[in-house]
């Protein structure tokens, strides 16, 4: 499977990554070679093989639905790029 520059732009959009126009061809080459490597997987028939979700076949542990964390909002928002009155600020979404 080879990817062209349009594929790269579409994937970058899905991944929310801004890629410089000049770099797109190199990403296309690199990603195509990675996908080429990955295609070796098709050499093995895996029909009926159960996909592995945890190396030790452990199921997801659940806990009681009770509050275990303290409110640390102020502490956590100290590392935010922009906040006001305990809210995270982003560019205007609704006009």
């Amino acid at each position: 499977m080879s990817l062209d520059t349009d594929d790269i732009k579409a994937i970058a959009k899905l991944a929310r990554l801004k890629i410089d126009e000049a770099d797109v061809p190199l990403y296309a080459t690199n990603l195509s070679s990675i996908l080429h490597l990955v295609e070796q997987m098709s050499s093995v028939n895996t029909e009926g093989v159960v996909p592995m979700s945890h190396p030790l076949d452990v199921v997801q542990r659940l806990r009681e639905d009770v509050v275990t964390e303290n409110d640390q909002r102020d502490e956590f928002q100290k590392v935010a790029p922009a906040t006001r009155d305990g809210l995270y600020l982003v560019p205007k979404v609704i006009e």
Binding site: A15, L37, S43, P51, S53, R63, P91
Partner: protein, 487 residues
């Protein structure tokens, strides 16, 4: 000048307990070595002199009061992937260059509780994605054995810092070989534990089903001392295993008479450098002399490890790294025009090329219509790879082979070719896919570059791995070698 840097953790601990040295004295000794040498090596991203001396003073109090544990007062370094409260935690990325963690990773808080001093945070490949430490936003780390070569990666800073004795030991993480491969290339001892043994809480996630933290040190004994602190159930990590933790130092001296060592044919094929093969063969001969039996085995699906890994790891990374959005923490672009612009430019400018490549591969593999062909297929093959090991461990106690197909390569040699870089982990990746424990132990040199012997164990057999490595180290001195400039 004292020779504390030539001592192991176990020896430093004994000196502290005997009162021959204070934690403050030791800490200052290593801080001064970092000041002296790290401009060349670039193994640290952050050094925390003031906090380290304060922790050392606390440790000295505990030592005087008799409330000290086995590692109280020894200084170590943490890979910059572990969150450290009040200290910059960058993960080697511009994205987190401004991130002062508001909390400690479980591994970090366990070391704090044990009275261990933190010297600083070590350099690493960006978000642990790399095998040479060259993808770090903070620049490449140099291998102390030969500064034209890479230290390996992603835990390259930890490996270089321990090899040059700027720190007696360090933490690392291993997703596809990131503890074992740099340990091999820098001539130190590293252990990647069974998946789920060491808490991943506060360890910045790359590929959650593969990531595992572990010790990087001079000896197997030191790794055992560190694993005693690091291992254990943590309710804050949903994949942490509820398992009784033994004293990993207890069985170090056990006899290995009759030990059955499996040698996978696939790990000694034509991809292996002949000089490395000779070093590994010599190590195996040593084991035979110690009473072990060598048995050829097959891991028929191991050739698919690299392809499977480059689906599973990017897929999980694309999900994990979606949290970096320029809103709640980390890098934000200048003057975003709208929300889409904020997301795409913050991520596009904050991540380096290798991270972007992997996010895009993962995004593609998980996108509508491709999931079955890529992620599902890879998870099925993972089962087959893991079944190969299960079958092998019915007949052998441990598996041995090289940790890396070649000695440390030159800086820049593979930087432009992702695939050749990926193949550097060809012998380590299957262990992560299966969730098994693995080690790298110094086993000799090729052209002055260290070579690592990989030892793979069955699930939860860390005690046996450490025992097997320790017996070897009692009869060899490869692990005691220090590069001339750092003696």
């Amino acid at each position: 000048m004292s020779n504390f840097h030539q001592m192991t953790l176990a020896e430093l601990s004994a000196s502290l307990q005997a009162g021959d040295v204070s934690s403050a004295g030791l800490t200052e000794h290593f801080l001064s070595r970092i000041r002296q040498h790290d401009a060349t090596l670039n193994s640290f991203i952050t050094v925390v002199e003031v906090q380290a001396m304060a922790q050392a003073a606390e440790a000295d109090k505990a030592l005087k009061q008799g409330s000290a544990g086995p590692l109280t007062g020894v200084p170590i370094a943490h890979k910059d992937i572990f969150c450290t409260r009040g200290i910059k935690t960058s993960c080697g990325s511009k994205m987190l260059d401004n991130f002062i963690s508001p909390y400690d990773a479980t591994v970090v808080s366990k070391f704090k509780q044990a009275g261990v001093v933190t010297l600083g945070k070590t350099n690493m490949d960006e978000f642990a994605m790399g095998s040479s430490n060259e993808t770090s936003f903070y620049g490449a780390v140099k291998n102390p054995w030969n500064t034209d070569t890479v230290p390996g990666g992603s835990s390259g800073g930890s490996a270089a810092a321990v090899a040059s004795r700027l720190a007696p030991a360090a933490t690392g993480t291993d997703t596809g070989g990131s503890i074992r491969q740099p340990a091999a290339m820098c001539g130190i001892t590293g252990l990647k534990p069974t998946y789920g043994l060491v808490s991943r809480y506060g360890m910045i996630a790359f590929a959650s089903s593969l990531d595992q933290g572990g010790p990087m040190a001079q000896t197997a004994e030191d790794c055992a001392l560190m694993l005693n602190v690091m291992a254990g159930f943590d309710e804050k990590d949903s994949t942490s295993l509820e398992k009784e933790i033994p004293d990993y130092t207890a069985g170090l001296g056990n006899s290995i008479e009759g030990l059955r060592i499996g040698l996978p044919r696939e790990y000694f094929d034509e991809g292996l450098d002949d000089n490395v093969r000779a070093v590994i063969q010599q190590a195996l001969d040593q084991y035979r002399e110690l009473g072990a039996e060598l048995v050829e085995i097959d891991l028929p699906n191991s050739g698919l490890s690299v392809p499977v890994y480059y689906v599973v790891a990017p897929a999980e990374c694309s999900a994990n790294l979606s949290r970096f959005d320029g809103v709640r923490y980390g890098y934000r672009c200048e003057d975003p025009q709208d929300l889409y612009d904020l997301y795409t430019r913050s991520r596009g400018e904050g991540f380096g090329a290798e991270v972007k490549r992997r996010i895009m591969v993962g995004t593609y593999a998980l996108s509508a219509g491709y999931y079955d062909a890529y992620y599902l297929k890879a998870q099925q093959l993972r089962h087959l790879i893991s079944d190969d090991f299960k079958a092998a461990f019915k007949n052998v106690d441990v598996i041995m082979g090289p940790a890396s197909p070649e000695p440390a390569f030159n800086l820049g040699e593979k930087a432009e070719d992702p695939i050749s870089m990926y193949l550097s982990d060809i012998y380590t990746i299957a262990v992560n896919l299966a969730g098994l424990p693995g080690m790298s132990v110094p086993a000799g040199f090729v052209d002055g570059k260290p070579i690592g012997l990989q030892i793979i164990g069955n699930y939860f057999e860390e005690s046996r791995l450490l025992n097997v490595a320790h017996k070897y180290q009692q009869h060899t001195d490869w692990h005691k070698q220090i590069p001339d400039s750092y003696k």
